[in-house]
Every structure is written in C-alpha cells, then in structure tokens.
Amino acid sequence: MKYVDDPVKMQKEIIKRSYIIAVIPVVYSLLSGEFPTMMGLLFGIIISTLILRLRVIHIERSLNMNEKKANTFIRNRYFIEFAIYFVVLLVARKNPSLNFLATAAGLFLIKFTVIGWVILDMLKQSWQKKIDSYK
C-alpha cells in the first residue's frame, strides 16, 4: 500500500479516492433529478471526511499518552463520534430535502473505499507473486 509511512498523505489519498468514487452516484442523481439523494450523499461524504480528519487528530494525541489513558481517551472519543453520526442520521431522517439512505451511503463510502483499496492491493500482490513464480 502506498504512503503507509505518511499518515497525512494516506489520509489525502483516501479522501481523494472516495470523492472520485462518489462522483458517479452524485452526477447520476443530479442528472436524474433526484436532488434529495444528491444532497444526502454530499452531506454524508462531507461529514465522513470531517470525522476522518478528527480521528487522525485524536490518534496523534493519543500516542503521546500512556497506555491506559490512550485506551480511555479513544473509547470516549468514539462515543462522541457515534453521537455525531446519530445527529447526522437523525437530521437526514427528519429533513425532507435529504435522503436518509443516501446519507448513510455517504457515511459508509470512506469505509468501503478503504476496504476496496486493501482488497485490490492484496489481489495485486498475489498476482505479482504468481507472475514472478512463472519467470
């Protein structure tokens, strides 16, 4: 995996890839006139990006603590992030100009991007091993 030694570059790469993937459904929903879906997707992706950035800050802070404090700190921050997710989903459910499922999809997009990236990387490595063994 590229940029594994540099968290800032890795974070930018994750965000870039998820935005590239998000362009397809956003443009499709825009062209088909489903504005709540588009708005929901954009809302979810923006919140998800901000939470990723927040998580990097929390991780960097936690590494300067002792083991027990870091454990408690990250656990507490997780529950705060969980509350943010709850508020976001609640707003998407209550607001008629936002599609709830599209917002949830937007929130999950970064996670799916990471999983897809890792799977592709593993496949690439296994193919490279096979090609090298035939040489």
Binding site: D5, M10, F73, I74, Y78, F100
Partner: protein, 85 residues
Amino acid sequence: MVEFSPDVIDTIIKAAALLGAGFAMIAGIGPGVGQGYAAGKAVEAVARDPEARGNIITTMLLGQAVAESTGVYSLVIAIVLIFTI
C-alpha cells in the same frame, strides 16, 4: 385462539420495533472498546519503536475507520426501526 384488536397489534409491533432498536444499539459498544484497546497497544508499539510512528498511525487509522462501520450499521438499523414504524 386469542384475537387481538388492531390497536393492540399496532402497539405490540411498535414495542417490538423499539425493543429491536435498543438491542441493535448494543452493537455500538463493541467498536468503542476495540478501538480503545487498539489505541493502548499502539502506544505500546510506539514506545517500543518510535521510528514506526507514521506506520502505526496509518494502520490504526485504517483499522479504526473499518471497525467503526459496524457501529454505524447498528445506528442506521435503529433509526430505521424507530422512525419507519
């Protein structure tokens, strides 16, 4: 056989949905505990090898991003159960 009126059936369905939402929210606790444990171990790893700090942060970031998704699944299910029925 006991027959219930439509109002009673509606109340039972609503109660079951709310109970299901409550049970679904239990899944939100696990990732928090797991992430905290991973953070503790990351601190231990950085103390052992400070040069690997960047690598550890990246690995932890990817792990936490994926681990959190199960908690958000439960949240989505709970909100759907609460507000749809």
